[in-house]
C-alpha cells in the first residue's frame, strides 16, 4: 500500500467490490499482511493423475463423493462441489497433438551443469516444457490427423472480488491475510446465498450437512508456512503455489515460451487484475478456450454493481423520503405527531 492510500476505515476511492484491487488482504483489515498467495495451474504439464483431488480430500477430510462412472473420459468427479475442491477435467479433442520442438539445437546445454543445481531444475523452471503443434505434413500415426487429451485441475479461484464473500450474511466467508477466501464452518449457517453468487459455480452446500464448502487454499497449512496439499503432491508441478505476483511473472514467461515454440493456443485465464473479478488468486494456463474446460469465458463478480445499486437505492429512498416529507409538509401533519 502506498502513502496515498486512503485511511483505514474509509471506503472512499477503494475498489472494494470491483475493479483493480492491489491489496485485498490489507483492505480486509489484515495489518502487515503477508504477500498474497495463490495457485498457478499450468495445464500443459498436467498428467491427469488426480493426486490433487486425493491429497485435498485426505488433508481436509472431505467425504467421498459418490461412485459414478460418467463416461466423461477419465473424469468421474464431474466438477467442483462441496466435496470436491480440486477437480481434474479430461477433454479428448480432435486437435493436433503437441509436438516438441525437436529441431531446436540444445547440444550446448550442459546437462550436468543443470543437474548440479541440486537434483534437477528448480521448481520454477521444472514445468516449462516447450511444446509445439506438429509441423505441416507431419506423420499422422494412424490416420488420425488430430488427437489431443487435455487435462486440467480446477479449483476455487480465490477471486480478488469474491461475490460469495460479499453476500455472506454471517461473516462465515472471509478474506484471509493471504488474500484467499475461506469458509468458516463454525459460523456458516447454511443459508446458501454464496452458492448462486459465485460466477464460477465453485461453492456448494453439502447435502445432509447444509453448510457451504470449498477450497480453503489450505488456510491452516499456510498459517504454518506449509504449502497447500494439492500443490505439494502434484507430481509434475502443474499446480504451483506461491506469492501471486511471482506466479503471474512465471506464468507470463511460460506463455511467452510456449508462443515462441509455436503453441499459439496457450493463454492465461484469471490472471488479469482488470478482469471482471479483479483477477483470480488461482489462475490457469490453458491450451484452449476456457469453455472447453468448463470455465466461464468472462466471469464477473456478481456483486460488482452493489455500490451503484446501493446508490440507486439510496437515491430512491431519499426521493421517497423527500416526497413523503413534502406530502406531510403540505398537509401540515408530520408523522409521529399524530396523536
Amino acid at each position: 500500500m502506498t502513502d496515498t492510500s486512503p485511511a483505514p476505515g474509509s471506503l472512499v476511492g477503494r475498489n472494494l467490490l470491483a475493479g483493480v484491487e492491489p491489496d485485498p488482504a490489507g483492505d480486509a483489515g489484515h495489518a502487515d499482511a503477508p504477500q498474497r498467495m495463490g495457485f498457478f495451474t499450468d495445464t500443459s504439464v498436467c498428467i491427469g493423475c488426480k493426486a490433487c483431488e486425493v491429497a485435498c480430500k485426505e488433508w481436509n477430510a472431505i467425504p467421498e463423493d459418490g461412485l459414478e462412472l460418467t463416461g466423461m473420459s477419465y473424469d468421474n468427479s464431474q466438477g467442483l462441489g462441496a466435496s470436491t475442491w480440486r477437480h481434474v477435467a479430461f477433454i479428448e479433442q480432435n486437435k493436433p497433438l503437441g509436438h516438441a520442438q525437436t529441431a531446436v539445437d540444445h547440444s550446448d546445454v550442459d546437462v550436468f551443469a543443470l543437474a548440479a543445481q541440486g537434483s534437477g531444475t528448480p521448481p520454477a523452471e521444472a514445468a516449462i516444457t516447450p511444446t509445439t503443434p506438429a509441423p505441416e505434413g507431419a506423420p499422422s500415426p494412424d490416420g488420425r490427423t488430430e488427437l489431443r487429451w487435455l487435462m486440467s485441475s480446477d479449483v476455487c479461484k480465490h477471486c480478488t472480488h469474491a461475490a460469495c464473500l460479499d453476500v455472506c450474511p454471517t461473516g462465515s466467508l472471509f478474506r484471509t491475510e493471504f488474500g484467499t477466501v475461506v469458509v468458516q464452518e463454525d459460523i456458516c449457517n447454511g443459508c446458501g446465498y454464496c452458492v448462486p453468487a459465485c460466477p464460477y459455480g465453485v461453492i456448494e452446500q453439502r447435502p445432509g450437512d447444509g453448510r457451504a464448502w470449498k477450497c480453503t487454499l489450505c488456510y491452516d497449512r499456510l498459517g504454518a508456512g506449509q504449502e497447500p496439499a494439492c500443490a505439494k503432491a502434484c507430481p509434475t508441478d502443474s499446480i504451483q503455489f506461491g506469492p501471486l505476483e511471482e506466479l503471474r511473472e512465471r506464468a507470463a514467461g511460460r506463455v511467452a515460451q510456449l508462443h515462441a515454440a509455436g503453441v499459439t493456443d496457450a493463454r492465461l485465464y484469471g490472471e488479469d487484475p482488470q478482469d471482471g473479478v479483479g483477477g483470480d488468486g488461482a489462475f490457469f494456463l490453458l491450451l484452449d478456450e476456457p469453455e472447453v474446460y468448463g470455465l466461464p469465458p468472462d466471469p464477473v463478480v456478481t456483486t460488482r454493481d452493489l455500490p451503484s445499486m446501493w446508490r440507486h437505492a439510496g437515491a430512491a429512498a431519499a426521493t421517497l423520503l423527500g416526497g413523503l416529507a413534502a406530502v406531510f409538509a403540505a398537509s401540515g401533519r408530520l408523522p409521529g405527531r399524530r396523536r
Binding site: 480486509a28 498428467i47 485426505e58 462412472l69 546437462v111 537434483s119 461473516g171 498459517g223
Partner: protein
C-alpha cells in the same frame, strides 16, 4: 472472559473499530479460525517412510499424534520424489487408517458357509499344526531316485509388497521346511526382465535410476504407461522434456503418457520385437551404430560356431529344436571354440535326458539366475575386429534383422512407414558421443510368451547406439510393487536363492562344488560365486554349516523342473499341493486365468491369507464366480481358510528396494492395532513355534530347521522381531562378527556369512545405509547419500562404458565416470561400476580368473567375457537372438515367418479350463477376432487390494470398463457408457464401455485390427467392484521364466451384460464350439 474482551470479540465491534470496514476479513474471523493449527504442525513426531505402492519409492513423512497416524504426505528431502505423491500415495492415510482394514483373525471351517472368529495365538498354532502335518504327509526324500529333500504339499505366494527383511525370512524358513513352491508377484510381472537384462549385461536390474532421465535427449517409453503407473517418476521425463528432450510413446492405446509425449506411435499389441527389430535394421543397414562402443564393449566381433542356424535359414526356427519335446538343444548356439557350459542349458539338457519327453519341465529358471551374474561360457573365443567375418555376431545380427524393413514393420505392427522413420530418426540423432537416448518399459514388454526376448531386443538396440552405462541412456525397467526388485534380489521365487544364486537342481549337482562349477563364470565377479554361496549357507545355518558337511548344502531342497506359481496351480488341481500361504497377493484377480487360481484353491486342505481386507482370494469359497455359476458349492468345499490381518508400512520397520535397486528404509510410526501383524512377525513366530515343536527331533528332514539361525531379537509389546537385525544378517559378518562392507570381502571357506551377497555393504560399519536420508538439496544430482543401491551404491550400472576405451569420457557433455591417471583410480559423478584401480590399459595375463581376468576395457564385470551380449550364446532357452513371433492368441498370421506362427518353445498349458484360440486366420479365429491388452490406471493398483477398498480412489475410477474405438463400437453396436460382454475361451466378463478415439484401429496386412483395452484392477469384492480382466487371460508362458502373456490376447465383444448363473457357462461353451476349440488348439510346436 471479561465484558471488555467479550465486546471486542464481537465481529461488528471489530468491523467498526478496525481496518476491515466491510467486515469481510480480519473482523469476521472466529476464535476457531484464529487458533487453527495444521495437524502436520501439532504432531508429536514425524516418521520417515516410503510409499507402499509402486516401485518409484517416493519418500513419505508420517505424522503421528497420540500414537495415531494423522497425516501422510510426501517427503521433500527425497531425491526421487521431491515431496510429491500420486493419488495412491496421497491416499495412503486412508489405506492405513481407513475402516476397510481388518484387525481380527478369521477362520473358515471346512464346508462352513461363513467366517468365525479365532484368536491370533490359537490360529497361529493351528497353522503350525497344518504345516507340520502336510509337510510330514507329503515329504519327498527322493524323486525318481534322486534326493530332493522337500515337500510339494505346501506353497507360498506373495512378497513384492513386503519388506526385504520379510522376504528374507519367508525364503529362509520355507527353504528349511523343504518348501520349494515359494513365489511372488515378480514372477508374473518382471521375471523376464531379469532374464533379458541379465543375459545381455550381467545384471537383471534396471540399468539406471529415475533422476537420470533428466539427462536424456530422447526417451522412448514403450510397453509402459509411465505417467499413469509411475506418475511421480514421470516428473523426470518432464524434466528432460523441459530441457529439450524428445519423448516418444509407443503403445496400443493413447494414454495419459501419450498425452504428454511428443509423438504417440500406436502399435499392435504383441509386435514390439518386430518394431524394435526394424530399428535395429535401420541402424545396422544405415551404418548408424556407435562403432567404437560396439566394437570395444559388446561381443559384436566374436565368432559363432559353424553349426548355428538362424531363423532366416530355418524358416523361423533356430537350430537345435526338439520338435517332440518343444525345446531347443542350445549346443549349436555357442561361440566357435567354446564348449557348452551354459548353466541353464546344461541343467535343462540333463533334465530332459533323465525325465524323458512328455513332462513339460522347462528350465528350473536358469535364465533368471543371471540377475547378477551372466551365463557361463568357456574355451577360447575367436574374434574378428573388422566385423566382417560372416559368422561374427555383428554379421549374424545384420542378416537376422535384414528383413525387418519399414514395410515389414508396417505389415506386422500397423505402424505407417513415415511414423516409423520419425522414431528411427529421433533415436539415431539423439545417440552417439554427445547425446544419449533412454528406453523405458514395464510389463507391456515382460508379459509375453517371448517376454525375455522383448527386453533383449531393446538391449541390442541400446548397445548398437552406444547408450549403455551413460547418463541419460540405459534401459529403465519400471517395476510396479514397492519392493518387487527386492523380492527378486532376496527372492521369494522358486528357482532362486538370495543374490540370484540358483536353487540347486536335483539332477545336475551332487555337491556344492559341482553346483558352483555348473553356474559360475571363469571371468569377472560371478567367478567368485562359491564365496557368495558359502556365505549364504553360513547365514542360513550358522555354526552347523562347516567345510566338512559342505556347509549344509544338502539342507537345501532340490528342484525338478518348474515350480512356478502357475505350476503350483496345476499341482493344486492335481491334489499335490495342499497348503497355501498368500502374503499380500491376490491371485484370484491378479493372475492369468483367475478361474484356475480359484479352482486350485478349492482343492486345498488349508489356505492362509495375510492381507489388509477380505480380498477375493480370501472369500472365493462363499462368493466367488464359480459359486454363482454353480461350478462350486460352498458346502462341498473342504478348504480351511485362515485370514490374518497384516500390518501396514507405517506399522513396521524395514527396507523396500525400489525399481532402481535402491534400498530405502521405512521406520515404524506406531504399533499395528488389534491382531494385525507384520509379515516379519508372522514368519518369525511361525518359525519359532515350528522349531519348538521339533525340538529334539532326530528325523533327518527336521535337521535344516533345527540348524537354522533363527534367534532374532524381539522388541516391544508385540515381540516384533528386529528388522534391523535381519538386515544386518543379509549384509553379512566377518569371522570376528563385524559387519562387512563389500561383497569383495566374502570368502568361500566359511569365515564370512552373508544373507544376500549383492546387498553386502547395506550395513557397512554397522550403520543402516538404507536409512540414510540426507536431503537431495544438500547433495549433487546423483544423491549418493540418500539410501543405498546395489551393487556397492552404484546408481548407473556399467558406467565404465561412459568413458572410451582409454578411460576418457566419450564427450564432456555426457561425462559420468573416467580414469584419473594421476590418482590411478576411476572417478566421476557416480561410484564407478568397475575395479577402482584397474587402468584402462590393463590386459589380463594368460590363465587369469575371476575379477583378475577383467581387462581395463571390460565394463560388464558380471559377464563371462566382460562384454555386453548382442548375441546370447547361452542363458536363454528360446533363442540367442530375439525374433518376432505372434502371441499365443492372435488374429494375425506371422508376417515374418508364415511357417512359424508362435515361439516353438513357449509353454502353452492346455487344460480343461485353459483353452487357446485358433489363431492367424485359421478356421475359428474369427470367433475371437479382437486383440485385448490389459493395463493399469493411475487411480488403482494391481489386483486392487490396496485401492478398491479406498473410497477416495474408488470414486475416481469407480467401475471396471473397457476402451474401444468408435469404429469397433459401430461394428459391434456398443454404446458409450453402456455395457459390453467380453468372451474368450477361458471366461466371460462384463464391463462398462468407454468409446474413445484414443483407441485406434490399425491396418495390418491390409485388414483392420481392433484392439480393446482392459484395466485389470477389478474383482467382485471391495468398495468399487467389477469383473476381473484375468477371467479372459490364459496360462501361456515364456519358457525362460514362466511369465504369462496378458498383454496380448484375443476375445470377442458384444453389447449388453453377461449372463448370470449357469447360463454364463453356456455362452462360454457355445463360443468354444463355434471356434472348434479342442485340447490341441494352439498347442502345436511347429506351424
Amino acid at each position: 472472559m471479561g465484558m471488555r474482551t467479550w465486546i471486542q470479540d464481537w465481529p461488528v465491534y471489530r468491523q467498526l473499530t478496525g481496518a476491515d470496514p466491510l467486515g469481510r476479513g480480519a473482523a469476521a474471523t472466529s476464535p476457531t479460525t484464529r487458533s487453527l493449527t495444521p495437524r502436520t504442525e501439532s504432531a508429536d513426531r514425524v516418521v520417515k517412510s516410503v510409499c507402499p505402492y509402486c516401485a518409484v519409492g517416493c519418500g513419505q513423512n508420517v505424522y503421528v499424534k497420540d500414537e495415531r497416524v494423522v497425516q501422510i504426505e510426501g517427503d521433500p528431502d527425497s531425491p526421487v520424489s521431491r515431496g510429491r505423491l500420486c493419488p495412491k500415495g496421497a491416499a495412503s492415510l486412508q489405506l492405513t487408517t481407513g475402516d476397510a482394514r481388518r484387525h481380527e483373525v478369521l477362520y473358515r471351517r471346512p464346508h462352513a458357509r461363513d467366517w468365525e472368529r479365532l484368536d491370533l495365538d490359537t490360529a497361529l498354532d493351528m497353522v503350525v499344526d497344518r504345516v507340520l502335518r502336510t509337510r510330514a504327509e507329503n515329504w519327498q526324500q527322493e524323486d525318481e531316485g534322486l534326493r530332493v529333500n522337500r515337500t510339494l504339499g505346501i506353497a507360498s505366494l506373495g512378497g513384492a509388497t513386503l519388506d526385504n527383511e520379510e522376504n528374507y525370512l519367508i525364503k529362509k524358513l520355507f527353504t528349511a521346511l523343504g518348501v520349494v513352491q515359494v513365489e511372488n508377484q515378480a514372477r508374473v510381472c518382471h521375471s523376464s526382465t531379469v532374464a533379458g537384462l541379465g543375459t545381455s549385461f550381467g545384471r537383471g536390474g534396471a540399468t539406471t535410476f529415475m533422476q537420470d532421465l533428466q539427462n536424456s535427449d530422447c526417451i522412448v517409453i514403450e510397453g509402459s504407461n509411465f505417467a499413469e503407473a509411475h506418475p511421480v517418476g514421470f516428473q523426470w521425463v518432464m524434466e528432460a522434456k523441459a530441457r529439450g528432450a524428445k519423448v516418444i510413446h509407443v503403445d496400443p492405446r493413447f494414454t495419459r503418457t501419450s498425452a504428454l509425449a511428443d509423438l504417440h506411435v500406436p502399435i499392435r499389441a504383441g509386435t514390439d520385437i518386430a518394431f524394435l527389430g526394424g530399428i535395429i535394421n535401420h541402424v545396422l543397414s544405415g551404418g548408424h551404430e556407435f562403432r567404437e562402443f560396439v566394437l570395444e564393449y559388446t561381443n559384436a566381433a566374436t565368432i559363432v560356431g559353424e553349426e548355428f542356424r538362424d531363423t532366416e535359414d530355418l524358416d523361423g526356427l533356430f537350430s537345435g529344436l526338439d520338435e517332440e519335446g518343444g525345446s531347443y538343444d542350445v549346443h549349436t548356439w555357442q561361440y566357435e571354440g567354446a564348449s557348452v557350459q551354459a548353466a541353464s542349458g546344461k541343467r535343462d539338457e540333463l533334465y530332459h535326458e533323465r525325465s524323458g519327453p512328455g513332462r513339460n519341465s522347462s528350465s528350473s529358471g536358469g535364465a533368471e539366475s543371471h540377475g547378477s551374474g551372466g551365463a557361463a561360457i568357456s574355451g577360447e573365443q575367436h574374434e574378428d575386429r573388422t566385423l566382417e567375418h560372416p559368422r561374427c555376431v555383428y554379421q549374424i545380427l545384420k542378416r537376422h534383422y535384414a528383413r525387418y524393413t519399414p514395410e515389414m514393420v508396417e505389415e506386422t505392427c500397423g505402424i505407417p512407414r513415415d511414423v516409423f522413420a520419425e522414431v528411427c530418426r529421433a533415436l539415431v540423432e539423439n545417440s552417439g558421443r554427445d547425446r544419449t537416448s533412454e528406453f523405458v518399459y514395464a510389463v507391456g514388454w515382460t508379459q509375453h510368451t517371448v517376454g525375455a526376448q522383448y527386453i533383449r531386443t531393446a538391449c541390442i538396440l541400446q548397445l548398437l547406439l552406444g547408450n549403455m552405462g551413460r547418463p541419460g541412456g540405459g534401459i529403465q525397467a519400471l517395476r510396479g510393487h514397492a519392493s518387487i526388485q527386492g523380492s527378486s534380489d532376496i527372492p521369494t521365487l522358486f528357482n532362486l536363492l538370495p543374490g540370484y544364486l540358483p536353487m540347486p537342481h536335483a539332477h545336475a549337482h551332487e555337491d556344492l562344488d559341482a553346483f558352483v562349477e555348473g553356474v559360475r563364470t571363469k571371468k569377472g565377479y560371478w567367478a567368485n560365486m562359491r564365496s557368495y554361496a558359502v556365505s549364504l549357507l553360513k547365514a542360513y545355518f550358522g555354526e552347523a554349516a562347516t567345510a566338512d558337511n559342505d556347509f549344509c548344502f544338502d539342507h537345501l531342497p532340490r528342484l525338478t523342473g518348474s515350480h512356478s506359481t502357475y505350476d503350483t496351480v496345476l499341482a493344486q488341481l492335481e491334489g499335490v499341493c495342499k497348503g497355501y500361504f498368500l502374503m499380500g497377493e491376490n491371485p484370484a484377480v491378479g493372475s492369468a486365468n483367475a478361474k484356475m487360481q480359484r479352482l486350485g484353491m478349492a482343492r486345498l486342505d488349508w489356505l492362509v491369507v495375510r492381507d489388509f481386507s477380505l480380498i477375493e482370494s480370501a472369500t472365493w469359497w462363499k462368493d466367488g464366480p464359480e459359486i454363482a455359476t454353480g461350478e462350486l458349492r460352498t458346502e462341498d468345499i473342504a478348504t480351511e481358510v485362515f485370514f490374518f490381518p497384516a500390518a501396514s508400512h507405517t506399522e513396521k520397520s524395514g527396507s523396500y528396494t525400489n525399481t532402481n535397486r535402491m534400498l530405502q528404509w521405512h521406520f515404524a510410526a506406531k504399533e499395528p492395532d488389534g491382531e494385525a501383524r507384520s509379515d516379519l512377525w508372522f514368519m518369525y513366530h511361525l518359525g519359532r513355534r515350528i522349531r519348538e515343536r521339533l525340538r529334539g527331533s532326530t528325523d533327518p528332514k527336521d535337521r535344516p530347521l533345527l540348524d537354522l539361525t533363527w534367534d532374532y531379537p524381539t522388541e516391544g509389546p508385540l515381540a516384533e522381531p528386529s528388522a534391523e537385525a535381519v538386515l544386518a544378517e543379509i549384509n553379512g559378518y566377518a569371522a570376528d562378527g563385524t559387519p562387512l562392507s563389500s561383497y569383495e570381502q566374502l570368502t568361500d571357506d566359511g569365515s564370512t556369512s552373508c544373507g544376500c551377497w549383492i546387498y553386502c555393504g547395506v550395513y557397512a560399519d554397522g550403520v543402516n545405509q538404507a536409512a540414510r536420508k540426507k536431503p537431495h538439496t544438500e547433495q549433487d544430482w546423483i544423491a549418493a547419500e540418500w539410501a543405498w543401491a546395489w551393487p556397492a551404491n552404484r546408481r548407473i550400472l556399467y558406467n565404465r562404458a561412459s568413458a572410451d576405451p582409454d578411460g576418457r569420457p566419450w564427450s564432456e557433455r555426457k561425462a559420468l565416470v573416467w580414469w584419473d591417471a594421476e590418482a590411478g583410480r576411476w572417478t566421476g559423478h557416480d561410484n564407478p561400476d568397475f575395479i577402482a584401480d584397474r587402468p584402462p590399459s590393463y590386459r589380463p595375463p594368460e590363465g587369469a580368473e575371476g575379477p583378475d581376468a577383467l581387462s581395463g576395457t571390460d565394463p560388464f564385470i558380471m559377464q563371462a567375457d566382460g562384454k555386453a551380449w548382442l548375441y546370447a550364446p547361452a542363458g536363454l532357452i528360446d533363442g540367442p537372438l530375439p525374433t518376432h513371433y505372434e502371441p499365443q492368441d492372435s488374429p494375425v498370421r506371422n508376417p515374418l515367418y508364415p511357417a512359424q506362427q508362435r515361439s516353438p518353445v513357449r509353454q502353452a498349458i492346455s487344460s480343461e479350463h485353459n483353452r487357446f484360440h485358433p489363431s492367424g486366420g485359421l478356421p475359428g479365429s474369427d470367433v475371437y477376432p479382437y486383440v485385448v491388452t490389459t493395463y493399469r490406471l493411475t487411480e488403482h493398483f494391481t489386483a486392487g487390494g490396496m485401492t478398491r477398498w479406498s473410497p477416495y480412489l474408488a470414486e475416481l475410477q469407480p467401475e471396471f470398463f473397457c476402451e474401444v474405438s468408435p469404429q469397433l463400437a459401430a461394428e459391434r453396436n456398443l454404446e458409450h457408457a453402456g455395457w459390453a460382454t467380453l468372451v474368450s475361451a477361458r471366461g466371460v466378463i462384463e464391463a462398462r464401455v468407454l468409446v474413445t478415439q484414443r483407441m485406434a484401429p490399425l491396418t495390418v496386412q491390409g485388414r483392420t485390427v481392433h484392439q480393446i483395452g482392459l484395466p485389470y484392477h477389478w474383482g467382485p469384492n471391495g468398495y468399487s467392484r467389477g469383473d476381473a480382466a484375468n477371467e479372459l487371460s490364459a496360462i501361456a508362458l515364456d519358457p525362460n521364466v514362466h511369465i504369462q502373456e496378458v498383454k496380448a490376447l484375443t476375445a470377442d465383444i458384444r453389447p449388453g451384460r453377461r449372463p448370470r448363473g449357469p447360463a454364463l457357462l453356456d455362452l462360454l461353451h457355445s463360443y468354444q464350439e463355434r471356434a472348434g476349440v479342442t485340447e490341441h488348439t494352439g498347442t502345436e510346436v511347429r506351424g
